[in-house]
Symmetry: C2
Subunit: 388 residues, 2 copies
């Protein structure tokens, strides 16, 4: 186990009707709130009206910035920074999923920084302070509601970059599983894959003697495997929606990688798919993760066998341990297929070959990956394995 | 799953040599520190000298209060409160295990309260503020290094009571597994049982649909079951010491009971044993937990079957499911025996019968237990089952 520091101050407010507490929670930070959200879904569902009512009851002045898109944009972040500065906003309230929260995190960091907020993403500055951020989560997937990071796309060149730090974590996250009842099946399934991917990026490590966090990872994966099909079969099943929602937070709040090195190649390889083809991130991960596994499993076959036996209940094949590892990968693909995700580029209807271009953009002449180091040629081969 | 609020702000600083950071960590809170500890073990091990050196390097003025005993006493707490008030202490630094940390928590709460600190334990007041508390942990067991509670014994009547609240959690906990190398085998084993007990008090719940936290509990239990024998066989095995230490914190930091009701009868029944016979808490739990299980398992036999199959790898007996549940309890006893713990009162050399007196003191005319409600007669029967 590696030495580590771990602290996560986000207050989780979880359960039925918890969004009704938003007025009193927001008031702890001040009377001027920037409400940040995406499109019309929170208006159609009635959540927008309920939130506004609770804020008004506390005489909170609300400024609004809607229009966050998947792969949230820097231009909107800059717009938010301007509003917060001009209006003396006390708290940013992000109502939505990971894109809205990531956008709000960047706004919060930018408000407290003299320079250009993109400096944080380019590593030219380290975030030291942010405007307080509260969340009402509507999509369990990204884990941004208590994570320390944010991913933003700069339209000037279409660079997708991340920044982070402990101060970036939201102050509180209101999580009512009922708010996820109306999610389309595709979003539910893509969210489930994203959650699993957050765990798997941490699970495949070169660090030995990480028994406890291994088991916590396996527990989180099994929770998603067990509950995602139930939520898809019955979208208003509170129990499975709640399990998925709480697991989504723990998957990415920093606990599961305490004392471990991590990988993150699959995320970076996928980013090019969502960048070029506008794929849903979770769907892209369902395509890339199996290919990545097939490409790297021989690096530590025992770890893939552990993954197969403990997560996917594969019987250990004493005559052919490698078959055990491969059966684990096969069952993962089968699961992704079962929940309605593509597992090849062909299934995702991506039939052109821009592998070289994407690999170049992902890694250039460098390498990526904490578990297995990959260069451009490796990444091209992974796209080829994903072709289908 | 029940609605819940969860927040744990304790900063965990984990790994080799991390105690060397104490000077700079303490300085964040001020230049006047109360060093609180037990007896001579931290002096014999050299930890005391290393800590003092680091504090002095930052020109921190150190006041000392030693003498914390297992089942920490109110009189020492009051002494600590006086020192902190008289000397204008900025930070309490607890160096030790659960007793030292619990004592420090009570001191910290008392300093910020006008009345008698015992009011908190009697429910006459609710803690709202405390002096900052830092921890250097030397014994993984109680989980007090990031928990919200404290248990103190009032010598005036020998009442053992607890109080707590989110503000009671330590600000930081320095956890170096190497500091546990010198623990006697008995303390290592008793600590392991205490950790497992913290999980099991949460595991046995009447709340349904708690899949994720069930699995997190099972992961934590399996970690202790896997690693405690290794640490006993090789006291300087960093890997197993680290797994146990990190699991001890998570077992009791509040995560594993999110959304669940809990039990806590076994802890309360055990408290009378440690109170009257001065038993080590973990050893007392090794005696009480099997007896409690045998007494209550029919209340929800499926949960005990899950415990047996998932935690103890018992094959499900399709012809006799009850036998599956009982085999789980038997394997737990076998494990406690293997690590050198007593599993009956006889093995703990308690042969007199003060069951009525202890049951009366534990519950009076009331009841206890969130999983199964127990009255005085039930508790007497549990002591009888524990007799051996």
């Amino acid at each position: 186990m590696l030495n580590f520091d771990f602290q996560n101050k986000t207050e989780i407010i979880f359960g039925r009707d918890t969004e009704d507490r938003i007025g009193k929670e927001a008031l702890k930070y001040g009377k001027r709130v920037l409400l940040h959200y995406g499109g019309g879904s929170i208006k159609r569902s009635g959540l927008y009206d309920r939130v506004m009512k609770k804020l008004k009851e506390e005489n909170i002045e609300v400024f609004e910035l809607a229009g966050v898109k998947p792969n949230p944009r820097l231009s909107l972040v800059n717009e938010g920074i301007k509003i917060c500065k001009d209006q003396g906003v006390d708290l940013i309230l992000a109502v939505g999923g990971g894109s809205v929260i990531d956008s709000a995190k960047a706004i919060g960091a930018g408000v407290k920084y003299e320079g250009n907020v993109w400096d944080f993403f380019e590593g030219k500055a380290v975030v030291e302070d942010t405007l307080p951020l509260g969340v009402i989560l509507t999509l369990p997937a990204a884990g941004s509601e208590s994570s320390s990071g944010s991913v933003i796309t700069n339209e000037d060149g279409w660079y997708k970059k991340s920044f982070g730090g402990n101060v970036v974590r939201p102050k509180f996250a209101i999580m009512n599983p009922e708010l996820t009842y109306t999610l389309p099946k595709y979003q539910t399934a893509a969210g489930a894959v994203d959650i699993m991917a957050h765990v798997m990026e941490r699970y495949f490590t070169n660090e030995e003697n990480v028994d406890f966090t291994d088991r916590l990872c396996e527990a989180t994966l099994k929770t998603i495997i067990n509950n995602a099909p139930k939520a898809l079969a019955n979208p208003e099943d509170y129990a499975s929606r709640a399990e998925i929602m709480w697991a989504s937070t723990i998957a990415h709040n920093g606990l599961l990688c305490t004392g471990r090195s991590t990988d993150w190649s699959s995320h970076n390889i996928e980013h090019e798919l969502s960048g070029i083809y506008d794929m849903t991130h979770g769907a892209g991960l369902a395509v890339i993760f199996p290919a990545w596994m097939k490409y790297v499993y021989k690096h530590n076959i025992d770890r893939f066998i552990q993954f197969a036996t403990r997560v996917w209940d594969v019987d250990y094949d004493f005559n052919n341990p490698e078959a055990t590892a491969l059966e684990g990968i096969r069952r993962m693909e089968e699961f992704f297929t079962r929940v309605g995700m593509p597992v090849t580029l062909a299934e995702a209807e991506i039939t052109d070959n821009r592998y070289e271009e994407m690999a170049e953009k992902a890694v250039g002449t460098g390498t990526m990956g904490g578990f297995v180091s990959l260069n451009k040629e490796d990444i091209v081969k992974i796209y080829e394995l994903a072709r289908g």
